[in-house]
């Protein structure tokens, strides 16, 4: 349910774009959700819809396009690259919940499958990214 706060961030960003570019309507938001954060789509979508209603007509014809990005890690110690699904089985429910709130907590619980280092980059698929926000004047 903390998905609401994240949806709020997206809508707030769109509102700022509208103000800066003097847009009357936001017609499209293209965004991506990183697999690592395991955002509940149902809660997230509901939150987006509720939040859009609080801005008059601005979002009355907004198309939101959300794609999911698989998570890729790269070890800084040995260079090995891997996917979340390669390490996922070792994570229990509570750990996944912690990563859900703060994805960087991954460094506490995930290790490079090759050299066991916690010193890796989350190359992609971390959290929320906005690809484009388009509107009309």
């Amino acid at each position: 349910m903390h998905e609401w706060a994240l949806a709020d961030a997206v809508i707030q960003t769109a509102v700022e774009v509208a103000q800066r570019e003097s847009l009357k309507k936001i017609t499209s938001i293209k965004m991506s959700l990183g697999e690592l954060q395991e955002i509940e789509r149902e809660f997230f979508d509901t939150a987006l819809n509720e939040l859009m209603k609080t801005h008059g007509d601005l979002f009355s014809k907004t198309k939101i396009n959300i794609k999911t990005i698989k998570t890729r890690f790269k070890c800084r110690a040995c260079g090995h690259q891997w996917k979340l699904s390669d390490t996922e089985k070792t994570l229990d429910e509570e750990t996944r919940e912690s990563i859900h709130f703060i994805p960087e907590v991954a460094h506490v619980f995930i290790r490079c499958p090759k050299c066991k280092s916690p010193d890796f980059d989350i190359v992609e698929g971390r959290g929320i990214g906005i690809d484009s926000i388009v509107g009309e004047k």
Binding site: M1, L6, A9, Q12, T13, I102, E104, V105, V108
Partner: protein, 241 residues
């Protein structure tokens, strides 16, 4: 494209009166003890107070205050628990006391996430316990907590003040509000920090004596409030409100 989290951070902080970043650039000068006890002291005076432990790789405030068996609740974000009258947020709720190895870039990312999702009560004061160093957390605090005022700690040692001075000079150069300097862990009165405050045009905010009995009170609120350390910090609180 802009990080969407940055767009809501201001909104999340808008019900907060004064934000105080307890800092000094240096480690081991009592930032965590002071942040924790200052929050308590302000709360006892009737203010609504929040405490944010921003030392993500070595959070300590929960150890100082003996906070355990509580967790944030999830509601349109997360609402930090209120313990002993202080609303308290720390990464420790999500790391469970495990070592938390994070490079600066990840620290910075985690800070933005925390600020994006944390819903503070209406607060008179938010106390931020800063990590040592002049790096990611300092920049993020200056850039994300607009208007935060810095309370710098120093001990009476030249080695320590040389580092504190660097932070002070940098904050002054950047026109960041400086509440003042508190001298901590005093073993003797040599006037050094008071003189340095004059020399560098920074308010002297008070002094906290080294309290050898404090260690026995760590983790126990009732004992803490009976210490000389708490009384000294209460004196600092008087100078702030």
């Amino acid at each position: 494209m802009k990080d969407p989290r940055l767009s809501v951070i201001e909104k999340r902080l808008k019900n907060i009166g004064k934000i105080i970043a307890v800092s000094g650039g240096k480690g081991g000068i009592g930032k965590s003890v002071t942040s924790s006890l200052l929050s308590l002291a302000l709360s006892k005076k009737g203010y609504n107070v929040g405490l944010l432990d921003l030392d993500l790789t070595s959070p300590s405030d929960h150890v100082v205050l003996g906070i355990k068996d509580v967790a944030p609740t999830e509601k349109e974000g997360i609402i930090p628990p209120t313990v002993n009258g202080v609303q308290f947020m720390s990464v420790v709720f999500y790391t469970n006391e495990n070592p938390t190895p994070l490079r600066g870039e990840e620290v910075s990312n985690a800070i933005k996430e925390i600020l994006c999702i944390t819903r503070w009560n209406n607060l008179d004061f938010l106390i931020i316990d800063m990590p040592p160093g002049i790096g990611d957390e300092l920049f993020d605090t200056i850039e994300l907590f607009q208007g935060a005022e810095f309370l710098l700690l120093s001990t009476s040692s030249k080695i320590v003040f040389e580092t504190v001075k660097k932070l002070l000079l940098l904050l002054q150069e950047l026109n960041v509000p400086i509440l003042g300097i508190v001298e901590n862990m005093k073993h003797y009165d040599n006037g050094y920090i008071k003189n340095m405050c004059k020399k560098h045009h920074a308010p002297f905010l008070g002094e906290i004596w080294f309290d050898k009995n404090f260690e026995n009170a760590v983790g126990n609120i009732n004992k803490i409030m009976d210490t000389q350390l708490f009384k000294d910090i209460d004196g600092v609180a008087e100078n702030i409100v």
